[in-house]
Each structure stands twice: as structure tokens, then as C-alpha cells.
């Protein structure tokens, strides 16, 4: 019976080793796939990575949406009521994309400071604000000048 016990021990060791290796691989890959979120203010301050993709969110500035000549590239600005960042996106925008709407874009910064998005998300419930965007807005709100805060309060 000793051998059976030994066999079982080996089996358990094998499983533990396997799971360990798998977990290590998974966590390593995990760190490389993390996507950080930055607000327009943070991007303007140069806090966002230059080479690595990240997510940028805010409200689409009223009157900023323009379509470039080829018809499929759209350029617009997002704001957190303090700073704005220009975004360029080629493709079809989601149904709920519109001026004044909170959106989250995924992509990276080009050398000229324009954020080139490969994905733009607008949420399906208009009353629903992506938490990151709501937070970013709240932050500027809190930090902002009292007068400006009073004017744009509750956004």
C-alpha cells in the first residue's frame, strides 16, 4: 500500500506544480494586459504612457465632432470639464455616441498629442455614466475653482 500512497503523493505534487506554473503564467500575462484609465487632465499633464495603449474617458465636447474627408474617420474631443483631448477614430461609432455623452475610448497617443482610438464605447443606458468618467468629472469638480464648480455642478 505504500506504493499507492506514494503514487497519490506524486499525483498531488504534479497537480500542485501544474497549477503553480499555470498561475504564474496567467499572472504574468495579466500584468501585460492591464489597461489603465486616464482622464483628459491626466493626459494633458503627461501622466499617460506614450507607447503603451490605455483607456481615456470623458464627455464628448459639444460641437467638436467632425468627420474627415474619407468619411469614416471621426475626430472629436473629450473633456473632464477641465482639460480636453482630441480623439481620432476610424470606423463606425456606437449607436449611443453623441455630443455630451460620456464615453470611454481605447487606444494610444500619437506624437502630435492626438489620441488614436481603436475602440470607442458608449454605454447603453443614457442615465448610466461609466464609473471612471463619473469619477474623473467629480475630481475636476472637487479641485476646480469654486465658481466653475458651481456653474457646472452636478454634471
Amino acid at each position: 500500500m505504500k506504493t499507492a500512497r506514494k503514487k497519490r503523493l506524486y499525483l498531488i505534487l504534479l497537480i500542485v506544480a501544474g497549477v503553480g506554473v499555470a498561475a504564474a503564467l496567467a499572472l504574468n500575462a495579466f500584468n501585460q494586459n492591464l489597461m489603465f484609465f486616464y482622464s483628459p487632465s491626466e493626459v494633458s499633464e503627461g501622466k499617460a504612457p506614450a507607447a503603451h495603449p490605455f483607456r481615456l474617458g470623458g464627455l464628448v465636447t459639444e460641437g467638436s465632432v467632425t468627420r474627415l474627408a474619407n468619411g469614416l474617420t471621426t475626430r472629436f474631443e473629450v473633456t473632464d470639464m477641465d482639460k480636453t483631448v482630441s480623439i481620432e477614430y476610424t470606423g463606425i461609432l456606437p449607436d449611443l455616441f453623441r455630443e455630451g455623452q460620456g464615453i470611454v475610448a481605447h487606444g494610444s497617443l500619437r506624437d502630435d498629442g492626438v489620441f488614436v482610438a481603436d475602440e470607442v464605447l458608449a454605454k447603453h443606458d443614457e442615465n448610466y455614466m461609466p464609473p471612471e468618467v463619473a469619477d474623473a468629472l467629480k475630481k475636476t469638480h472637487d479641485e476646480g475653482v469654486a465658481a466653475a464648480a458651481a456653474k457646472e455642478g452636478g454634471s
Binding site: M1, A4, L11, V19, A26, G71, I92, D95, D125, P131
Partner: protein, 664 residues
């Protein structure tokens, strides 16, 4: 008046569940048969009151009673009748009421169909289900009352979210809930067994068909959700690793592990503690899913506007359920006897591998889903986990799992001679490896991903056929098939066969659909054509059409191939009158081998539109595979051996639990 009746019925249902949770359970300890016997009538009463309450809400929607706040926010006179009914579960309060109704339904079903259970066990199971009902019903009544009135009464309602006005989504939530809540049955069986201190093969056999049915509903619900997303979201995707999708996928993974582990416990009496833990885990993950969806803590397509009080309530409920059940487990686990021993090459070992992998995947999905919360709470920044990560996890572990999936059914319980097993697997190995290599070759498929998928799918198919051949040979050839099918254990086997075959289709589907799909965003003028993989898409312009409660811009796209018409697609852009929300309806030409998919972008002036065109090969196989998996589960659950258990109960007890023997 009727809404008040509904609310009153809801309160009565809560009273019933309070009594159900306490009295029958107490009766089993103080030996009061009268108390124990209350369990069944109480299950009935609870269900009837819940049904009345639910009917009251449905009625309010049908007659457009906008004095009820929930109806005023989500109902509308213009809604087609079908969607008036489905609007009941279109938002938070109503979907919780549906949840509670389904829980009541499962409780009643257990009391009706589990007549063979010893009275004491049944009473305990129903009591535990009563406890779960208390949690949900008090949640409903105290934080999300669907019958709340509003004054002044609005003349028109706010309408159901247009996204949900789709036949697929009308039945998606009920299916999913049937699965989520169905797992509470497995949970209750496990808790009842822990309370009674009797965990044996009979217990596994009782809870197995219930778990299977819940798992089937969950599978079907997920497949429906994925199919709906594909048709409605307009970007051709069918799975986004969205937190809410993960919330349904995690219980599914855990339940899949449970279904397999229950098989070992039933057949061999082994893995008992593990099985119990899985039952607790699966239901806890269902609750976690509810928490994630309802509390609005995560960014998600599905998230509802949040209410912290609700989140807190569910969190506390979750803690009570997980904490309480783990505590009970900790107290009782040492008493659980060891099951039958097994050698290192045996079906038990392979199923153990399956369980380890499934639980590992569950853990990884959990990490990926909760990491953003953790990072935020710790102040490490706001993150999201990219879906390439989830995909790479799946690609890493899926092949291992499929490898085991092929070997498992061909391996004997308890001990398997490795040489004999290899001999049995040789042909399957040759065929699948050969075909996989061929598919990866530059002149044929030229894709390692395709090669891997072909190898894995064929591996499943060939090993399944090997097993089938072997089984039929032992039962007198193909002629024995029907008899085998009708007999005990037969449908379990064929159900497994079907479900595993579904996995083979699924693997081919996801691989080919993601590796070989073609996507084009085009600006098109009326009359203009675009060529894509031999198909010509001609855009014939957009016209305005009036729907019952929306205005639609209906596009027409003619698809031809070699001059012959293949399909006329009508992608739509709808604007719903009340909420002024735009909605995309894709135009899809479905086929077994490929889908052609067109969605409208936006008007660019002069009749020009931006269009998104897709060619998606084998995409149907994903859902077809999912349906096969669900069908397999259903077939297995209908196995005759789960019926008439009473007569065989004593016999199966001694047959199922083999003496621990020297190996343990």
C-alpha cells in the same frame, strides 16, 4: 388595487418562506413529524403567493397602469404585447421578482418530483431553499419594491430599454435565472446533507439530475445571450468578456465541474467533500453574479444605474451564504467518510484533472473580473483587463482540457492499465494529429490555430466514436443501440457523447470565426458595390419605415455571388419614439458554413452611408455547439435511473459506496 394585492402576496410569500426555513428543519431535529410534513404545503403556498404577485405585475404592464412607478418607468402603451410582458423583467425590480418566482418554482418542483427522498432529507432541502428565498424576498420588499406607486400618475410610460426589445432577449433572462436559481437546488441538497451529516452516493444521485437541469438552463441562457449580442449590438461579436457575461460564465464553469464531480461521487463514492464544496461554490458564484449586475460596481454594457443600498444588501447576503455554508462545511467535513480509492491511471484521475482545470479557469475569470475593483479600492489606479488576456487563458487551458476529455470516457473507473488505454487511443491520436498538422501546413490551412482546432475537435470526435464502438460491441452491435438508449445509464452516456460533441463544434466555431472572419467598414453610395471573398455586396440605399413604437431607417443590401443572388439583407437603424434611443439591427444571412452580416453605421449625406460588412465562417457552430452541450445535459438528466429511486435506494447505497479498501 391589483398592485396592492401583488405586494400583499409578496409579503405573504415572505412569511411562508420564513416558516419554511425554520419549522420543517427544526422538526427534523426534535422529531416532530407534523412539522416536517409542513414543508410540502409551505412550498406550495410560497409558490402560489409568488405567482399571484408576479401575475399582478404582468397585469399592471398589460393594462399600462402607470400609477405603478416600475411600470411607468419601463412600460409604454405603444409596446407590442410580447414586450409588455418581457418588460416585467426588463429592469431591476421586476427581474428580481422573476428570480424569486423561479426560486419558488424550483422549490415546488423539488417537493413534487423528489417524492422518493426520505421525508427528513426533503424537509431539510426545502428549508434551506426557504432560507435563500428569505434573502431574496426581503431584498425585494425592503430595497426594490416593484409595486411602489407614483403620484401624480404619468400619462405615458418611459418604455422598455430598446435593446431589450428583441425575442432573444425576452427569454434570455428567464433562462439564465432558471440556471442561476437552479443551482440553489444543488446548494440546498449539499447543505441539507451537511446538516444531516450524511453524504453518500445516494445524495449524489438525488442532486445530480437537478444540477444537470440547472446547468442546461444556464448553458442555454448563455448561448441565447451570446446570439442576441451578435444580432443586436451591430459589431458582429458574440462574447466580450464583459463583467456581466463573466458573471454568468463563472457559475457555468463551476457547475460544469460539479456535474462531473457528482458523477464520481455517484459512481464511486469518491470526491465527496470536493463535490460539496463545488455545490457551495457554484451557487455562491450565482449570487456574486447578481451582486455584480445589480450593484453597478463594474463598468459594463449591462450594468444598471447603481444604488449603494442594494449593493450592500446583496453583499451582506452573499457573505452570510458563503460564510454560513463554509462554516457548516468546516464543522461537518471531518465526519465525511473517504470514498473509494483509485489508481493514478483511472477515470477518477482524469475527472480530477477536469475539475482542477475548470476551477482554475473559474478562478482566473474571477481574478480578471474583480481585479478592477481591487485596484480601485487599493488606490492603484483605474484599470480594465483586456480581453486578449481572457482569450489567451482560454487558449492555454482549453487544449489540456480537451485532451483529458477525449481520454476520460475511454478509461476505466478505479484502475486502468496504461498500455491497453494507449492501444485504444492510438487510432484517434493518429487521425487527429495528422489532420491537425495538415491543416497547419502552408499549402492547406496555413494557420497553427486552425491546426490546433482541427486536431482538438477531431480528437474529441474520434475518441467518442471509439468509445461508442466499444460500448455497442458489448451490447450486441448497432441493434443494441435502442435498448441501451432506453435502459438505465444509457442516456447518461449518450448525453455525455452529445455534450462533448458540442464542444468539438464549439472549438471549430470559435477558432474559424475569429481567425478567418473578414471585416470591412465602407462608405457606400446607393448603387455602389463592394467585393468581399467572392461575394458582391450592393448597397441599394436606405428608406424610412415606421414601426409600432419606433422609426426605422431600413437599408437594403443585395448580396450576389457569380451573378446569382445569395441574399437580400436589411440592416436597420431604429430610433425608438419614447426614449429617442438609436438601435442597430444587423442584417444577417445565416448559414451553416458562414454568415454574411451587414450593419448600418450612420448617414453621411447625399444618401451615402457608412456600412460595416462581415464574412463570418462557421460562426453558427459556436451556438450549435452550445445547444448540443445543453441537449446532452438534458438527455443525461432524463436517464431512467434517476426515477424510481426509492426502490433502489438501499441497493444503490451499498453498490455506490465501495468499501474504502486499502488504497484510501
Amino acid at each position: 388595487m391589483i398592485p396592492e394585492l401583488g405586494q400583499f402576496a409578496l409579503i405573504l410569500a415572505l412569511c411562508m418562506s420564513l416558516v419554511l426555513a425554520v419549522v420543517p428543519l427544526a422538526g427534523t431535529f426534535v422529531r416532530m413529524p407534523a412539522w416536517v410534513a409542513l414543508a410540502r404545503p409551505l412550498a406550495w403556498a410560497q409558490f402560489v403567493f409568488l405567482a399571484i404577485s408576479f401575475a399582478a405585475l404582468v397585469h399592471a404592464f398589460l393594462v399600462d397602469d402607470f400609477s405603478v412607478l416600475y411600470v411607468a418607468s419601463h412600460g409604454n402603451t405603444l409596446l407590442p404585447t410580447v414586450y409588455k410582458v418581457s418588460a416585467v423583467w426588463g429592469a431591476h425590480e421586476g427581474s428580481l421578482l422573476l428570480w424569486a418566482l423561479i426560486l419558488g418554482g424550483w422549490t415546488l418542483a423539488v417537493s413534487l418530483y423528489a417524492r422518493h427522498l426520505p421525508e427528513v432529507v426533503l424537509a431539510r432541502v426545502l428549508s434551506v431553499m426557504g432560507m435563500v428565498a428569505i434573502g431574496f424576498l426581503s431584498f425585494l420588499l425592503f430595497t426594490s419594491n416593484p409595486f411602489e406607486r407614483v403620484f401624480p400618475v404619468p400619462v405615458e410610460g418611459g418604455e422598455l430599454n430598446p435593446l431589450l426589445q428583441d425575442p432573444g432577449l425576452a427569454i434570455h433572462p428567464p433562462m439564465l435565472y432558471m440556471g442561476y436559481v437552479g443551482l440553489s437546488v444543488a446548494f440546498s441538497f449539499a447543505i441539507a446533507a451537511l446538516i444531516g451529516g450524511r453524504l453518500d452516493a445516494a445524495w449524489a444521485r438525488w442532486s445530480r439530475p437537478w444540477t444537470l437541469v440547472a446547468w442546461v438552463f444556464l448553458t442555454f441562457g448563455i448561448v441565447l445571450g451570446s446570439w442576441w449580442a451578435y444580432n443586436e449590438l451591430g459589431w458582429g461579436g458574440w462574447w466580450f468578456w464583459d463583467p456581466v457575461e463573466n458573471a454568468s460564465f463563472m457559475p457555468w464553469l463551476a457547475a460544469t465541474a460539479l456535474v462531473h464531480s457528482l458523477a464520481v461521487t455517484e459512481k464511486r463514492g469518491a470526491f465527496k467533500r470536493w463535490t460539496v464544496l463545488l455545490a457551495l461554490l457554484a451557487f455562491s458564484l450565482s449570487l456574486l453574479g447578481t451582486f455584480l449586475v445589480r450593484s453597478g460596481v463594474l463598468t459594463s454594457v449591462h450594468a444598471f444605474a447603481s444604488d449603494p443600498a442594494r449593493g450592500l444588501f446583496i453583499l451582506l447576503f452573499l457573505l452570510a451564504v458563503i460564510g454560513g455554508s463554509l462554516l457548516l462545511y468546516a464543522v461537518r467535513a471531518p465526519d465525511i467518510s473517504r470514498g473509494g480509492g483509485f489508481a493514478s491511471v483511472s477515470r477518477e484521475t482524469l475527472l480530477l484533472g477536469n475539475n482542477v482545470l475548470l476551477v482554475l479557469m473559474t478562478a482566473l475569470v474571477l481574478i480578471g473580473t474583480l481585479a478592477p475593483l481591487l485596484y480601485d479600492a487599493m488606490g492603484w489606479g483605474k484599470i480594465s483587463v483586456g480581453f486578449p488576456w481572457f482569450n489567451s487563458m482560454l487558449v492555454t487551458f482549453m487544449p489540456l482540457m480537451v485532451l483529458l476529455m477525449g481520454i476520460g470516457p475511454l478509461t476505466r473507473w478505479k484502475q486502468q492499465e496504461p498500455g491497453e488505454l494507449l492501444k485504444r487511443l492510438r487510432l484517434a491520436l493518429l487521425i487527429s494529429a495528422g489532420a491537425g498538422l495538415a491543416a497547419a501546413l502552408p499549402m492547406l490551412g496555413d494557420s497553427w490555430a486552425l491546426g490546433l482546432a482541427v486536431a482538438l475537435s477531431l480528437w474529441l470526435v474520434t475518441t467518442l466514436l471509439t468509445g461508442l464502438r466499444q460500448r455497442l460491441r458489448a451490447r450486441g452491435g448497432v441493434g443494441g443501440l435502442w435498448k441501451d438508449f432506453a435502459g438505465r445509464g444509457g442516456r447518461s452516456y449518450y448525453g455525455m457523447l452529445l455534450a462533448h460533441l458540442g464542444v468539438a463544434f464549439f472549438i471549430m466555431g470559435i477558432t474559424v470565426a475569429t481567425q478567418f472572419d473578414i471585416e470591412r467598414d465602407e462608405r457606400m453610395s446607393p448603387g455602389q458595390s463592394v467585393e468581399m471573398t467572392g461575394y458582391t455586396f450592393r448597397f441599394d440605399g436606405v428608406k424610412v419605415v415606421q414601426g409600432p413604437n419606433y422609426r426605422s431607417q431600413l437599408g437594403t443590401v443585395q448580396v450576389t455571388r457569380d451573378g446569382k443572388q445569395v441574399a437580400v439583407l436589411h440592416p436597420e437603424k431604429r430610433v425608438y419614439t419614447v426614449q429617442r434611443k438609436p438601435m442597430t439591427e444587423a442584417g444577417v444571412d445565416a448559414g451553416f458554413m458562414r454568415d454574411l452580416y451587414v450593419s448600418l453605421g450612420e448617414g453621411l449625406g447625399n444618401g451615402d452611408w457608412s456600412l460595416r460588412l462581415y464574412y463570418k465562417p462557421l460562426v453558427r457552430w459556436i451556438w450549435f455547439g452550445g445547444l448540443l452541450i445543453a441537449a446532452g445535459g438534458l438527455l443525461a438528466a432524463s436517464d431512467p435511473r434517476y426515477r424510481h429511486l426509492l426502490q433502489r435506494h438501499t441497493a444503490s447505497d451499498s453498490a455506490g459506496v465501495l468499501p474504502a479498501g486499502g488504497r484510501a
